[in-house]
Homo-oligomer: 308 residues x 2
C-alpha cells in the first residue's frame, strides 16, 4: 500500500513523517524543499520526541510519483488549483483521498476533480510549524477528526473507508476521532477558526492575549456565535453553548498562533477564501448575512494584499 | 469679549490662533505645552500662509483664567471628565460653549455640566496635526459646521447664538456652515468617522490606500451604510446615497490620516467611546444592532490597550 503526501509543511510533513516512521511506504510531493529533503531527509522536533528520517521518497514533479492507494492532501488551500493536475495522475483507481485542510467545501471541490475516489476530510487539532526546509517543529496536540464526504455533505456515518484510514493513522500513533457528519464537523472547526484565525492577524496577538482582553474576547465570542448561527441555517445542529466550550478549551490551550497568523508572518497568502468567504457565502445562500465575519474577511483580504 | 480655548492641539491651537490673529481676546488653557507656548508663542504652519503669535494668553490652571463669554472646548473627548471642573469656573453666566469634538452626545454631557449655557456643537472638516509643542501644522481644509444644541437633540434651527458665533469665526476667516439640526449633523459626520477612523488604525493605512483596495473599500461602504441605518433608527432622515457622496468626496481628498490614526500613532488614547460606542449604544436603544461597527470598536479597544 502506497501513501502519497501532497505538500510537506507543518501538517503534511508532520503526519507523513509519523507514517514513514512506523513503516508505511510514503511518497512526498514537494516544491521548494525538494532538494533539501532529498539530500537531508526530514527532521521532526516534537514534544513526543525528536526524530530524523534520513531517507524519504520525495518528488518535485507529480508525474514522477507512483500511483498511490491513499493520497493525503496537505497543501494550503490557496494552492488547491494545482490539485486538478496532480490528483488524477498520482492515485490508483479506487484510492482514498484525505484532505487535511481548513475551511468549507474542500471535499466537494475534490469530488469534482476525482469523482470516483472516496474522499475523507480531516480536521487537525495540531500545533506545529515549519522551522526550516524539511524541519518541522511539533509544539503540541496532534489529533485528527476524520469524516467521510458524501454528496452535498449529507451525513455519511462511519464508513469502511473511514475505519481503514483510522487504522492506518492509529498505527502511526496519530490520535483519531471519527465524525459521522463531516459537514457539521467542518462547521464546528470553523467556530474556532473564524473566531481566532483572523483576529490574531488583525490584532497581531496570540490566542492567549486575545482571551485575556475583555474587548477582544467579546469580539471573538460574537464572531463565534455568528458562526454557530451560520452552521444552523446551513442545516447543522450546533448550539450556542458550543462557543462557551470552545472558549474554555482555548483558555486551557498553550499560547498559540493559528495557521493564518503563521502564514501571514511568513509572508504566505492567508486562507481567507476557504476559512471565511466560503462559509459566509454558504450562510448567505441560506439567507443569513454573516456581517461580523465579513468585516474580518475584508480586513484580511486587505492585509493579504498590503502587508509590511 | 473674552474667548477661552480649552486645549490647544491640532484643533484648538489652529482655530484659537486664527481668532488671536484677527484681534480677538483669546485665552488658552494648556497642559503639557504650557511653558513652551508661554515662552515661545504659537507657530502655525498653514497652507494658507505660516504665522507666529509671539505672545498669547496661556494658563496651566483653569482657576487662573478670566471668565469668558465664549468657551471653545477642543480637548480630545477622552479627557472630557475634566470639563465638569473647568467649565463652571471659566465661563460667564450667559456664556456660549462650543464643542469642537467628535462623536455623539457631546453637547448633552455639556448641558448637564452647565445647564444655563447655550451650547453649540462644531464639526470640523480640518486636516491638521500637532507637529510639536505650540507648533500646529495645518494641511488642508478648515471649515466648521455649527449647530445649536437643544434638549435631546431636537432640531434647534438657526439661532441667534449660532449667528453670533458664526460672525466671530467668519471674521477670523474660518469658513462656517450652519446646521439646523445638530443631531443629524453629528450622525452625518459619523458616517465618515466610523467608516474611516477605525479602519485606518486597524489596517495601518491612509484613506487613499483604503479607497483604492477593493476589499477595504467594500468594508468601509458596509460600515457607512450601517451608520446611515443607525441614524435613521435614531430619527434622522439620512439616506444611503449619502454614503456614495462621502466616498466620492473622500476620493477627491488629499491622502489623509484621520485624527484617530494620528492619536494612535502618537501613543494617545483613541476616541473609541465617543466615535463608536456612543452611536452603537444609541442605535441599540432604538432597536438596531450595529454589528459591523461593534467589531471595529472591539478591535480599537484592544489596540487602545495593547499597542506596540
Amino acid at each position: 500500500m502506497k501513501i502519497g503526501v501532497i505538500g510537506a509543511g507543518a501538517v503534511g510533513g508532520y503526519y507523513g513523517a509519523l507514517l514513514v516512521k512506523c513503516g508505511f511506504d510514503v511518497h512526498f510531493l514537494l516544491r521548494s524543499d525538494f532538494e533539501h529533503v532529498r539530500d537531508n531527509g526530514l527532521l521532526i522536533e516534537s514534544k513526543n520526541g525528536d526524530f530524523i528520517l534520513e531517507s524519504v521518497n520525495v518528488y518535485s514533479h507529480f508525474e514522477d510519483m507512483p500511483e498511490c492507494d491513499i493520497i493525503i492532501v496537505a497543501l494550503k488551500t490557496t494552492q488547491n488549483k494545482l490539485l486538478s493536475s496532480i490528483l488524477p495522475k498520482t492515485m490508483k483507481k479506487n484510492a482514498i483521498v484525505i484532505a487535511l485542510q481548513n475551511g468549507l467545501n474542500i471535499e466537494k471541490d475534490l469530488s469534482e476533480i476525482v469523482p470516483s475516489a472516496a474522499i475523507i476530510g480531516g480536521l487537525c487539532f495540531l500545533c506545529s510549524n515549519k522551522a526550516g526546509p524539511g524541519h518541522i517543529r511539533h509544539l503540541d496536540y496532534g489529533s485528527i477528526r476524520l469524516g467521510q464526504y458524501h454528496e452535498n455533505y449529507q451525513a455519511a456515518g462511519i464508513t469502511r473507508e473511514l475505519q481503514r484510514i483510522s487504522d492506518v493513522f492509529t498505527r502511526a500513533s496519530i490520535p483519531i476521532h471519527l465524525a459521522e457528519n463531516l459537514g457539521k464537523a467542518r462547521w464546528e472547526k470553523l467556530v474556532w477558526n473564524m473566531g481566532f484565525n483572523g483576529p490574531t492577524v488583525i490584532l497581531n496577538a496570540t490566542t492567549d492575549l486575545i482571551m485575556k482582553n475583555k474587548s477582544s474576547r467579546a469580539m471573538i465570542t460574537e464572531i463565534m456565535l455568528e458562526v454557530t448561527h451560520g452552521a444552523r441555517v446551513c442545516g447543522h445542529d450546533l448550539d450556542d453553548q458550543f462557543v462557551e466550550i470552545m472558549l474554555n478549551a482555548t483558555s486551557q490551550m498553550i499560547d498559540y498562533l493559528p495557521s493564518m497568523k503563521l502564514d501571514h508572518d511568513a509572508g504566505r497568502p492567508m486562507e481567507v477564501d476557504s476559512i471565511y468567504w466560503r462559509p459566509i457565502q454558504e450562510a448567505a445562500n441560506n439567507g443569513f448575512d454573516m456581517q461580523k465575519s465579513k468585516i474580518i474577511a475584508c480586513q484580511l483580504d486587505f492585509l493579504n494584499r498590503f502587508s509590511e
